[in-house]
């Protein structure tokens, strides 16, 4: 500082001050960048979640085979009931429902009668069947990951299983392999492999790596943990 020309300290002080300001500003910019990055990451996560839900909705069965007959039955029953009651109220029975006969039968039939029990049982069984049909079930297509809400991509479940079996069989020493895809929420791939070696060593780990690697290339929306059950040759 002392070696410089007169006025240098002032200049240097100014430089130091400017440096400090620049440093502060750059720290501020870095902070803003970090905040923007976090916001972008959050937005990306949301987009992925939206896309995953949309894709799952696309591939989910609508149960039209159950829903359409049920809707038809509700429409016909409700419509016929309404027409019959309204026509009787205005004094011109439509005769869609045999009300008198039904009423006479119901007046004579006790709740404990086998026919009444059978009808009640049939209704309960039908209700149970409909409730079972309303459950999500196992989707035929496994959804792939992605952030584009207008793209629903997936892999046919049976084909996915075959691809994983193939990956397991490509490991030298594996004679047979089967794969089960389990769990709708916490997915798990269970590989059952049979080795032709008496002492397979780390073959289970190699199979696990091969299957996990194949899964990695398939980019599923819900990554699955891979478990291997290895049977060795015994003779």
């Amino acid at each position: 500082m002392g070696n410089g020309p007169p006025g240098a300290p002032v200049v240097q002080a100014g430089v130091v001050m400017i440096d400090t300001l620049v440093t502060r500003r750059s720290v501020g910019t870095a902070g803003t960048t970090a905040t923007t990055g976090r916001a972008e990451a959050r937005e990306l996560r949301r987009a992925r979640r939206r896309a995953r839900r949309g894709a799952a909705e696309e591939f989910r069965s609508s149960r039209a085979a159950v829903g359409i007959p049920t809707a038809l039955a509700v429409t016909v029953t409700g419509g016929a009931g309404a027409v019959e009651v309204l026509s009787r109220l205005i004094g011109h029975p439509a005769g869609l429902v045999p009300v008198e006969r039904l009423s006479a039968v119901l007046r004579q039939t006790p709740w404990g009668d086998p026919r009444a029990l059978a009808v009640a049982g049939a209704l309960a069984a039908l209700g149970l069947a409909l409730l079972a049909a309303a459950l999500p079930g196992r989707p035929r297509v496994v959804v792939m990951d992605g952030a584009d809400p207008s793209l629903a991509a997936g892999i046919a479940r049976a084909d996915l299983r075959r691809a994983l079996v193939r990956a397991a069989l490509e490991v030298p020493g594996v004679a047979r392999a089967g794969v089960r895809l389990r769990g709708p929420f916490r997915r798990r791939v269970t590989v059952r492999a049979t080795s032709r070696y008496r002492n397979p060593g780390n073959l289970a780990e190699l199979v696990r790596i091969a299957v996990a690697c194949r899964l990695d290339h398939l980019d599923l929306a819900r990554p699955a943990a891979v478990g291997v059950r290895l049977r060795r040759r015994r003779d």
Binding site: A71, V76, G78, A120, L128, L130, L151, A152, V165
Partner: protein, 176 residues
Amino acid sequence: MRPVIGMVGAALLGLGGAGLGLGLADGTAREAVLRPEAFRHVVTHEWFWPVVAGACETAGLLGAIWLAGQCRDALGRRRALMGGRARRLARACGRDLRRETLELPGVAAAHVRLTGTRSRPRLRMTVLCAPDTRVNALRAALVEGPLERRRAELALPGLVTVLTFRFTDPPPRPRG
């Protein structure tokens, strides 16, 4: 539509369960399903039949709306419910998309179909590829290339595409 199926199922289960309960309980098993008190109740309450008629009408109307919605949904998943010009344009785009998809590495076959309505069109694609194909890379190539071009061509940048990958199926064999 599943929740509605579940609701109808729950209602039927409730009715059937109640009937079974009344039939199997000692106190009510010998009572008639329609008792004289029920008739008296209906006669003394004038609002009863209009309310029943209203309930039946509501059920019938809701059932009809549900039926129409399901039929439209089921048809829309399989067919293109849109006018002639839009359909022709979509068919031409589908052919181009199929041809360009077949040029991508690993793709053995591709089926493209435009379904849905004019307001909610869907492009359904099934891509058959070799078993060792890197599906994530193939999807990226498909989306960034042919699919993006077809969306621009149809002037539908947000055209929903349902893409199903399948693998060709030579039987897997063990190595070594």
